[in-house]
Symmetry: C2
Subunit: 385 residues, 2 copies
Amino acid sequence: MNNFDFRNPTRILFGKGRIADLKDQVPKGAKVLVIYGGGSAERTGVLSQVREALSCHTLIEFGGIEPNPRFETALNAVELVREESITFLLAVGGGSVIDATKFIAAAATDKGDAWDILTSRGSVVKGALPFGTVLTLPATGSEMNPASVITHAEKGAKLPFMSSHCYPQFSVLDPEITFSLPPRQIANGVADAFVHIIEQYLTYPVAARVQDGFAETLLRTLIELGPKALETPGDYDIRANLMWTATLALNGLIGAGVPQDWASHMIGHEITALNDTDHARTLAVVLPSLMHDQRGPKREKLLQYAANVWDLRDGSDDARIDAAIDATRRFFETMGMKTRLGDYDISAPEIERIVNALKDHNMTAIGEHGVITPEDARRILEAAL
Amino acid sequence: MNNFDFRNPTRILFGKGRIADLKDQVPKGAKVLVIYGGGSAERTGVLSQVREALSCHTLIEFGGIEPNPRFETALNAVELVREESITFLLAVGGGSVIDATKFIAAAATDKGDAWDILTSRGSVVKGALPFGTVLTLPATGSEMNPASVITHAEKGAKLPFMSSHCYPQFSVLDPEITFSLPPRQIANGVADAFVHIIEQYLTYPVAARVQDGFAETLLRTLIELGPKALETPGDYDIRANLMWTATLALNGLIGAGVPQDWASHMIGHEITALNDTDHARTLAVVLPSLMHDQRGPKREKLLQYAANVWDLRDGSDDARIDAAIDATRRFFETMGMKTRLGDYDISAPEIERIVNALKDHNMTAIGEHGVITPEDARRILEAAL
């Protein structure tokens, strides 16, 4: 096991009816900016639950955060925070709204150029406004981690940052508010959480049994319950398990003390920056191809994955690895996600642009060994056509 | 899944050589009371590593915390804290030293009678001195939770308390400093962690797949690595996995959203209060007998435990349950722990005293359903003779 630091101070308020508990979590006397995305927060009644819970607080609202949240939109919110002397932010939404809120929280207290937050990957962040979240879409894990990804449309860039100042103070996770999500968003959430786990698990062994066992538990939960969530959208226990799994998939726990990959994410981000393909769908395309391409360096963990996650124990090593990769692809497709670049209107010329974007963004040595180059990414993408 | 709150702000510094990082964790300018137990912290060199790491801090030392730490001893430390205007506590030891430190931290800032902290189970605690820990014995999980158990010798009482003010600010977990532990302490630690997990797992199902899967991972890790830790005391990865398992066994994670039992602990505490039997050994006696006695209410989870932890999948339900209970008892015995009351000089008259002590301490309705009475405990203890 590798040395590690682990700390995660976010308070989770999990279960039915927990939005009402916001009143005890947001500091008394706070002037709160409620940040949300499109119309669904209003339509589903989540925003009205939030307003009712915080009826004794001063609320200002800022809607319109995009999927793949935009730098420019977040800066508009920062301006509002300053004009209105906001003291607390409340994100009501999925990963995009929460990611944007982290950026707004950091930029609002920063005197420099907000773009530096992204180009420094967060190292310039010296503080942030306190904020909490009400999660409406289990997927990214942003509700219990200090990381964020922001898109700059004009620059064609999708860049991550993280800062210890950017943990939510609290996150409300009410599985019932996921009942009304469209199947496409449930599928995206399950696939996103799945690949988050894989990025921290499918590398090389370091005798980290606890982390491996936890990761395998989370993967099996998604595999078993993901399709059932689509079939029976009103099943509370299925939604509760998926919601808690997605949070634990990326809260630092399973990644502590083990190597991490993240190459699928880095390549996938460039696809989204290119044509706005849903983040999770880019992962469903890249991951199976990357697993196949990296079957050498990942050999031991691929065999462990085949056995412990898919119960594949017969046949040669290579046959079991092939079967595990096939099962992964089929899992995404069972969730209604296409797994080929062509399904997303990407052909050879776009691959060239993705490879160049990786170079432009210094993604020249990625993966758990830091040796996957843009040319390796080209090969992985070509195999995914 | 049940509704839950989860928050755990303790920072873990895990791995080789991490004691040196104390210098960045203890606030600059702090006046530190280093709290430890017997001579082993000195003998093993842990204390000198601590002194070296904190050579720029003002240190005062307080040794002599007992196994099953005593109320009276802790009060002596509280007096020293006040006399010397101590601003930070550093526990260097196992669960007993850390538990005592939590009590000292709470009592030092409390103006009332320190005994009330225990009789109120911590509800009177309104603050605590900040403290960190250097863990020398993986067992109780106290290094990453807000709970403590203190013994009052004269009153024959061993009482738990907890408070949100009593999370360690940080805990240093260096598996190498466990290499020199005597086999008896390793065995105690493994058994203690094992029963902590069981108390949160072996109750009744609430469709909490993640919590169950995590608990099963931790149990299998202890079963596989516990005996190996005794055979190969210098194996880093074995000690690292056991150390992280013991912490995760009782940091709130696997118990969030599920029913909890704790009857074995409550009964076991009275055995230790009676004749100072090692805490873990009381659990190794009580648990198998309680599992057998409560096989009705625990039926579904016993079958799940048999299958997922012990891979017992053949035979009738009752046969698999019996086999799982036998396997549990054999596991303790493989670790060198006797599992019968007679092995600890306890016979019928002492059972009477234990039953009366449970009544005296209001332990009249324990277990996950709150229905195990002192008379039920008598039956469980008689079956353990």
